[in-house]
């Protein structure tokens, strides 16, 4: 009898056991894709629409250019000196609640946007404070010894000075070139290098977008995609721009694992300068396809105010973070005189 009773009790415990977690507390709400409002007694996990911030600020990165410490040579050549420090032990919140070991140049992914004018003499003081060998390999034209491939810079304070003349005109990536290469790139050792033409470009509201991905579980597939590292950031923090104002975006695709990426703009088309090496646009389109480290310059003007999406039209990427919004403010008297270009 006792046996039977204990069996009965045991069985009922097993039946009830999996349905334990039913706590009651105050209701929270969140909005879905379709605008439906959902109420929950629990926690909302919504990196898409809920405004949230993490350690890295993509809004600050967007329009930040590092022109270096400027000096002049006797012959009038501008010398620009930069310091870049590599680290590989930082754990960063890359999406709300998700922590990932990023390898950084100057503490951020992407690293600082290095900007110079064609013909300037560049001196990049590189310090490796990481625990592995690292280098900086610039895309562009430079002597073999400055290529950052065969000159591994040792960990724990190793130093190297990359010295070369800025060129050619355009937008280029720089990244670590130590083997295993894929690992060094996908952890975040990359950034943008802009070479301005001597005669300058038309004044514009300029921004940098590095299209990148994060493989947070190391299965050689990206778990997140983004413009400037943080998924969905520009969706819940729209980029504010004005009507009748020239917008210029320096786009660099650093996505690994997936062969292509792309950039689609809503309610508008852009002039596209592949690699930015030519001053005449090659395309007038709302869609470009980019392979690894493929990059270029986009220019466009919005006529109508409002909210416009921009995202990968490889929709998988946009649904995993590579999506943003331009919030176009009405600016009837366009005033381009107070806008700057280069320096």
């Amino acid at each position: 009898m006792i046996l039977l009773l204990s069996v009965t009790i045991g069985l009922s415990v097993i039946v009830v056991f999996p349905n334990f977690s039913e706590a009651q507390s105050e209701l929270k709400t969140f909005v879905t894709h379709s605008g439906k409002i959902i109420r929950t007694t629990g926690e909302v996990i919504d990196p898409l629409y809920t405004v949230s911030t993490v350690e890295f600020d993509p809004m600050e990165y967007l329009r930040e250019f590092n022109y270096g410490n400027i000096s002049k040579l006797a012959d009038g050549t501008t010398v620009r000196e930069y310091t870049i420090i590599a680290e590989d032990d930082k754990v960063m919140e890359v999406s709300p609640g998700v922590f990932y070991n990023v390898w950084t140049y100057n503490g951020t992914v992407p690293g600082p946007t290095i900007r110079a004018t064609e013909g300037d003499l560049l001196k990049i003081n590189f310090i490796n404070n990481g625990s592995k060998d690292h280098t900086i390999h610039f895309h562009g034209i430079h002597p073999a010894g400055m290529d950052g491939v065969f000159e591994a810079v040792g960990p724990g304070g190793g130093k190297f000075v990359y010295e070369f003349e800025a060129g050619p005109v355009g937008v280029h990536p720089y990244h670590c070139h130590v083997m295993p290469l894929e690992e060094h790139i996908v952890h975040g050792l990359y950034g943008v290098f802009i070479v301005d033409p001597k005669e300058g470009r038309e004044p514009a509201d300029e921004m940098v977008m590095v299209l990148n991905g994060l493989d947070t579980d190391f299965d050689t597939e990206n778990n997140f995609y983004a413009a400037n590292t943080i998924p969905f950031y520009y969706q819940h923090h729209p980029i504010q721009i004005n009507t009748n104002e020239l917008i210029r975006i320096y786009v660099v695709n650093m996505v690994e694992f997936d062969p292509i990426n792309n950039f689609h703009l809503h309610g508008n088309l852009y002039k596209y300068y592949p690699t930015g090496t030519d001053l005449v646009p090659s395309f007038y389109t709302d869609m470009i396809t980019l392979s690894q480290t493929e990059r270029g310059i986009m220019e466009f003007v919005y006529d109508y105010p409002g909210k416009y999406l921009f995202h990968a039209h490889k929709v998988e990427f946009s649904e995993k973070g590579w999506v943003g919004i331009f919030l176009v403010n009405d600016n009837s008297e366009s005033d381009e005189s107070d806008m700057e270009y280069g320096s």
Partner: protein
């Protein structure tokens, strides 16, 4: 007196001392400041145990099955990130569960992969072959399951019991053949239940549950427990109103009842998971199988010549209900509150019960005269029983 007290104390002390050392060792290993064994990296793990599709929403039951606490950070459907809610909250201690609610306009009968990403960026996934509405607890469904349970459990067992007059009239060796046939049938069912339990645990339970060992443990405990209880019942039969054959038949009925509970669970779960066609097959298959279970009960009962006709009929109906009706309860639980863990447990209990019934029947055959269980009728019976089940299992 004093001497015996001291010796009792000594016995107790010698029993307790090793335990004391075990506790000291545990304290040493896990105690504060003891980082002796603190090396290696503990990898987090969560398991999505269950996915329910309800109106415009997908709900996933997530359990932390790893060695360290985790925080649920992101939910996705088909590897596309979705806004979601996690109740009661996203922080999961070891073995804690949470319900992740993902608002999603899903389409019926399409496959879905539900993913959960935790704080360290690791993503875990569960694939659902075909989305279907989760069953809601309505009186219609309760009746529906009761009818299915009746078809699968009660009716086939009752039909099987109708063989009783036939078994009564046949010769001893033919009777042995039928008993052995049941052994073969039940052996197949027992192995089948174990396979099913292992399959469910592999697909739905985390590795930390040790699915195969869990199944083995429950099978053995179920077997031993029922064996013990059954023996008590038979022993008592001498002193009570029950005759020995009736006691054995009752035991077999209880064992088969436990097994049918597991079968009911499987059917309810199949309906709940939306594989309706699959469950139609299941129902036909189970109904065929279960007819044979009636024979198993009828066998020993037929040896009791003392029973009056009326009393025999009441007993047949009673045993039929004991053996068959658990299928109804199983279907209710499987359909309305399916949990892979309880499924594995019940399937294993059922398997243990089946093996217990097998032992009882074999013993009956031995007592009836075939001491080595090597008579041609016994050997042929077991072999044909297995073969019949295998062939019908291909058909269904």
């Amino acid at each position: 007196m004093a001497v015996s007290e001291t010796s009792k104390f000594k016995v107790a002390a010698t029993g307790v001392i090793p335990f004391a050392f075990v506790i000291v060792m545990m304290l040493y290993i896990f105690g504060p400041g003891a980082d002796l064994l603190d090396f290696g990296v503990a990898l987090p793990e969560v398991t999505i145990e269950k996915v329910d599709f309800i109106d415009s929403e997908i709900q996933a039951t997530v359990r932390n099955t790893g060695p360290i606490p985790v925080q649920i950070a992101i939910a996705d459907v088909n590897d596309r990130i979705q806004p979601a809610a996690v109740e009661p909250d996203g922080f999961l201690d070891r073995y804690e569960t949470a319900l992740v609610r993902i608002p999603f306009e899903w389409n019926e009968a399409e496959p879905y992969r539900i993913g959960i990403t935790i704080d360290d960026g690791t993503r875990f996934e569960k694939e659902i072959e075909s989305a279907a509405f989760a069953l809601e607890f309505t009186s219609d469904l309760v009746i529906f399951f009761a009818i299915i349970g009746t078809y699968v459990g009660i009716i086939p067992v009752m039909i099987g019991l109708l063989w009783l007059p036939f078994i009564r009239r046949i010769s001893k060796s033919k009777y042995h053949f039928f008993l052995a046939l049941t052994v073969g049938l039940l052996l197949f069912l027992g192995i089948d239940a174990i396979e099913e339990a292992i399959e469910v645990s592999n697909e739905n339970l985390a590795g930390s549950f040790n699915g195969i060992l869990l199944t083995a443990t429950v099978v053995v405990i179920s077997f031993i427990g029922l064996y013990y209880a059954g023996q008590k019942l038979i022993d008592r039969a001498d002193s009570s109103k029950l005759t020995k054959p009736v006691a054995i038949a009752l035991m077999i009925a209880i064992g088969i009842g436990l097994h049918n509970f597991g079968e009911g669970l499987a059917i309810g779960a199949a309906v709940g998971l939306g594989s309706i066609a699959f469950s139609t097959f299941l129902i036909v298959g189970f109904a065929l199988h279960n007819t044979t279970e009636g024979i198993a009960i009828a066998g020993p009962l037929s040896k009791d010549k003392t029973l009056s006709k009326k009393s025999l009929i009441t007993k047949l109906i009673g045993f039929g209900l004991i053996a068959g009706s658990p299928a109804i309860f199983g279907a209710w639980i499987g359909g309305f509150s399916y949990s892979p863990f309880s499924s594995v447990i019940f399937l294993a209990i059922g398997a243990g019960a089946i093996f217990q019934v097998i032992v009882v029947i074999l013993r009956l055959i031995r007592e009836e005269g075939d001491k080595n269980l090597s008579g041609s009728s016994v050997v042929a019976g077991i072999a044909i029983g297995m073969l019949v089940m295998y062939l019908t299992s291909i058909l269904v």
